[in-house]
Amino acid sequence: MTDVVRTGFRPSRVAVYGVLLLAALVYLIPLFIMLVTSFKTPMDIRTGNLMALPTDWTTIGWTKAWSEACTGVDCGGIRGYFWNSFKMTVPAVLISTLLGAFNGYVLSKWKFKGSNLFFGMLLFGCFVPFQVVLLPMAATLGQLGLANTTTGLVLVHVIYGVAFTTLFFRNYYVAIPDALIKAARLDGAGFFTIFFRILLPMSTPIFMVSLIWQFTQIWNDFLFGVVFASGDSQPITVALNNLVNTSTGVKEYNVDMAAAMIAALPTLVVYIVAGKYFIRGLTAGSVKG
């Protein structure tokens, strides 16, 4: 035991930390470049070094990206699209997570004839590539009258996300002993009471997993956004693409970088806030099932 504790300064340790440090650096360099570039003036960018700190710190890139930059013909910044993304992501994340929790509850604690087959087929949904569903989904949204609306996008993301959230919750609930459900039934609790009073309060870790996963997936989605939304209802990922690809005028890298940072911030915040549950929830779910 004492040998293990008295590690001290050893070459192998140095090597391990060296490699880790290097890996961290490699991952951090793009972020660093984005950040410093977003605070530079266009002049600074053209003349200066990519890695250098701004000679002249300015937030003009950020304010311009937020409220003035042109995405295609519209020049109101990415502000509107940022909120579009929220209007799409928040309901889609919540609805798909709640549905997944409910599905997981039924598939693990109230098994019916063929429930395992049902679960297997649902899992299949995790592996269907986005591109495959584009055309049928477009037709369906058109028939429902939801084409080019945020509601339509929410629907698409809920449908696509339910496979994953069900998998998360089902595996989490499988590890919870059935005796708990039996005890609650004998205590007089019904189907919904057991779900809301017993299981949901136990689900914080897997809830966080589902929230982070779904938030990241839906916020970062580009393909569904570019196909199923247009004009005013486009999410920020599409707007960012339009902003960067705008061909008129001079290329404003500071604005591009600031816009990209703004687009990435919410997922970063969600991960920092709920991250500690992420690992815990993933490992908890993987114990059994």
Partner: protein, 372 residues
């Protein structure tokens, strides 16, 4: 009053060829402590779940106080259950755990508080009421689980192997507590265990199950002294009863059976008269360790008592006794010997055989041969 009748309960799971319960009949009197015992897979837990309503029955009926409850939902049966894993709601405090069932049944708050206090006092868990289950020891969780069952004052209590998750010392303590509690509250209890000592110590009556069939239903004494068949005889008692195949023979003094030790020694064991119609045939002699002891002078002249010399193969001191292993007709046989009367393995010792309580089984049917 809460009398429970199980009438030819049958249970078949879909896709399973063999029946899990093959027609179980048990009448449980009000206030009776009945224990279902058997090896794993014998159907005892299934039977308990059907009583609770957690599983449906395929045939038969469950009658509680004259009312058929076979098709009722668990919540309408007025039955409480204590689980092996305790099944406490982890996000709720002890108080909330106990109150949960009462709250769902819509009791007014002051009555719930009163009931929680009563149960907490009864089980001495008042100081734990605001803790979460995760912060309790195994024994404390066990008490809370019992408290949750007691709180509703149900008509029947079901205990599903409640002590199996406790360590040996605590198990014995809780066993005594449960017995005390039953003596105080006079409740009807159905208790499942695979531990035959628990069954012997707690039960008013024991129901021994095997392969979904009731093997014997009787008081612990009946089950121990007059087991219905080889299975029950081998299941109850520790160390287990030894089974020696012998042939019944007629001698001048009465019936006897010749047994042979591994050292070549032979002994004629006297047999009771009721075996007279089996002279010349084989029977299985079921002998418990306490029937073979060191020579006891006060028994010397009793009938059905004899002495012989056998080689001790193994000795296992348990404290109050030494369990010694000998061989009779090539079968291992356990003897219970006073530690004050030392025997050594590998050496020959004189042993006294008391045949008065020995039982006999038919080798074909495996049923006990009853005296007539």
């Amino acid at each position: 009053m809460s009398q429970l009748e199980l009438r030819s309960i049958r249970k078949t799971y879909p896709g399973v060829a063999e029946e899990t319960l093959k027609g179980i009949d048990i009448d449980i009197a009000s206030g009776e402590f009945i224990i279902l015992v058997g090896p794993s897979g014998c159907g005892k837990s299934t039977l308990m779940n059907t009583i609770a309503g957690l599983e449906t029955i395929s045939d038969g009926s469950i009658v509680l106080d004259g009312k058929d409850i076979s098709t009722m939902e668990p919540k309408d049966r007025d039955i409480a259950m204590v689980f092996q894993s305790y099944a406490l709601y982890p996000t709720m405090s002890v108080r909330e755990n106990i109150a949960f069932g009462l709250k769902i049944r819509g009791l007014p708050k002051h009555e719930i508080d009163q009931e929680v206090e009563r149960v907490a006092d009864l089980l001495q868990i008042s100081q734990l009421l605001n803790k979460k289950p995760a912060n309790l020891s195994g024994g404390q969780q066990q008490r809370v689980a019992m408290g949750r069952a007691l709180a509703r004052r149900p008509r029947i209590y079901l205990f599903d192997e409640p002590l199996s998750n406790l360590d040996a010392k605590l198990r014995v303590e809780m066993r005594t507590e449960i017995k005390k509690l039953h003596q105080r509250l006079k409740t009807t209890i159905v208790y499942v265990t695979h531990d035959q000592i628990e069954a012997m110590t707690l039960a008013d009556r024991i129901a021994v199950l095997k392969d979904g069939e009731l093997q014997q239903l009787g008081t612990p004494k009946e089950v121990y002294n007059t087991p219905a068949n080889l299975f029950v005889a081998g299941f109850m008692g520790s160390p287990a009863m030894s089974f020696v195949p012998v042939t019944v023979e007629q001698g001048g003094q009465g019936l006897y059976a010749q047994v042979q030790g591994n050292n070549g020694s032979e002994l004629e064991l006297p047999l009771p008269d009721y075996l007279s119609d089996r002279v010349g045939r084989q029977v299985i002699l079921g002998i418990r360790p306490e029937h073979i002891t060191q020579p006891q002078d006060q028994k010397n002249d009793q009938t059905l008592v004899t002495k012989g010399e056998f080689t001790i193969e193994v000795t296992e001191p348990t404290g109050p006794d030494v369990i010694a292993l000998i061989q009779l007709n090539d079968t291992n046989v356990h003897c219970r010997i006073d530690p004050e009367h030392p025997v050594t393995w590998g050496e020959t010792a004189e042993l006294m055989f008391d045949m008065k309580k020995v039982v006999f089984f038919d080798p074909e049917t495996e049923q006990r041969i009853a005296p007539h």
